[in-house]
Amino acid sequence: MRLEKKRILKEDGRYLLFYHNAASASVEQREAFAEVAADATAVTATTVGAGAKTGAAQPGLAGRENADV
């Protein structure tokens, strides 16, 4: 599964994130996402145990392959 994400700022400074799955979205949802004025970034399951602030892989995942789609 692959999602796309767009981030905008609201008038009061709060952020809002739109998540989009092109494979399951309706026509209206596809059009609404396309209208959001921001660049899309990908969200997938490729990240292996991101170690938050250190970037270190978490135990139990070393050498493991993710079945990204």
């Binding site: 599964m1 999602l3 994400k5 905008i8 609201k10 709060r14 952020y15 809002l16 994130l17 739109f18 998540y19 989009h20 799955n21 399951s24 979205a25 309706s26 209206e28 949802q29 059009e31 609404a32 996402f33 209208e35 959001v36 969200v43 997938t44 399951a45 990240t47 292996v48 145990g49 991101a50 170690g51 938050a52 602030k53 250190t54 970037g55 270190a56 978490q58 135990p59 139990g60 995942l61 493991r64 392959e65 993710n66 079945a67 990204d68 789609v69």
Partner: protein, 330 residues
């Protein structure tokens, strides 16, 4: 506004958030702030005519990225800190009448990806020590917006229950060299009486030590400490297990079951928590179809839960409850 006040007698922070007294309270249908903004209509939180899943900063947050100074001065004994953190709202669907259990499996799977993305992004913030993903569902739980949604709190400290759980897992590991969650799962599977459902990567149980009558924990079979650790296959399996448990809840008494759903994951300091394990907990508030389980004197004041049921019995009931969707909304 918000601040953190330290309780030295319990060694824990209390968050004050006085502005939340004014938060949206059961708005009429035309003023649902979590709906898409209809052309020419009431401007909701989501400025788009449609959406799939959206996440935004709560308008009435308990924690803020740039918090105000505290309203009172603390002392060495009872310090006070700005309530720095992030509170997010996760809208699962634009359909105000929906609920997570009734969404297609693909949608639940998408939500797992969104939760993983939020865990990673929020954990990377320097001031964030713990990312807490949860859903309050139903009036009985105190929900004031019925539109299906969950929340995420990025705390500037590790909250008391996860802190206690992580510490217990560490002590168990130091004593035995084993993961306490792995051993609990092994014993639950060997016994079998409290198992509600299982698939290749997750097992749902009413745990031996359940505090609520129909409490269910979804335990990972493998050593994963956060939702972002799961690969694509595991994320699909997690979505399947979530949907199955929630459908069983709804079918138990042929009505939408209220609950608190929460995730316990590793703290966000980048340290090694290999002795811990990701899991999800559900706390439905009912002990029978028409009787609530209240947190009263023993639970609220002493922290000692009294469960009016045996986990072996409620697990059997849930195990025998059909997971397929037969519940019809009123």
């Amino acid at each position: 506004m918000s601040e953190l006040r330290w309780n030295p007698t319990l060694e824990e922070w209390v968050i004050t958030a006085t502005h939340r007294q004014d938060r949206t309270f059961f708005p009429p249908p035309g003023y649902n702030p979590l709906a898409p903004t209809a052309p020419g209509g009431f401007p909701t939180e989501i400025p788009a005519p449609d959406y799939e899943i959206v996440v935004f900063e709560n308008k009435f947050p308990s924690l803020r990225q740039a918090p105000a100074d505290p309203s009172v001065a603390g002392t060495d004994l009872m310090p006070v800190r700005p309530a720095q953190g992030i509170c997010e709202v996760v809208c699962y669907t634009p359909d105000a009448e929906g609920e997570l259990a009734r969404l297609p499996l693909t949608k639940v799977e998408e939500l797992v990806y969104v939760w993983a993305d939020r865990f990673e992004e929020l954990s990377a913030r320097e001031f964030v020590k713990y990312v807490y993903i949860f859903e309050n569902k139903g009036r009985e739980i105190g929900v004031t917006l019925m539109h299906p949604h969950g929340q995420i709190y990025a705390f500037p400290f590790v909250p008391p229950i996860p802190e206690k759980e992580v510490a217990a897992a560490r002590r168990y590991f130091e004593r035995t060299g084993r993961n306490v969650f792995a051993d609990v799962l092994e014993q639950e599977l060997k016994d079998g009486r409290r198992v509600v459902a299982e698939n290749a990567h997750f097992v749902a149980v009413v745990p031996f030590y359940a505090r609520y009558p129909y409490e269910v924990h979804i335990l990972a079979r493998d050593d994963r400490t956060a939702i972002c650790d799961f690969d694509a296959g595991e994320r699909t399996a997690l979505a399947q297990m979530l949907k199955l448990v929630m459908e069983k809840y709804n079918n138990l008494w042929d009505r939408s079951m209220p609950y608190i759903m929460l995730m316990h994951q590793r703290p966000s300091d980048g340290a090694d928590y290999g002795y811990y394990r990701f899991h999800i907990e559900f706390y439905p508030p009912y002990r029978t179809p028409d009787k609530l389980k209240y947190l009263a004197g023993s639970e609220a004041g002493a922290g000692a839960f009294i469960n009016d049921t045996h986990a072996e019995v409620t697990a059997q009931t849930l195990r025998e409850t059909e997971p397929v969707h037969v519940f019809l909304p009123e």
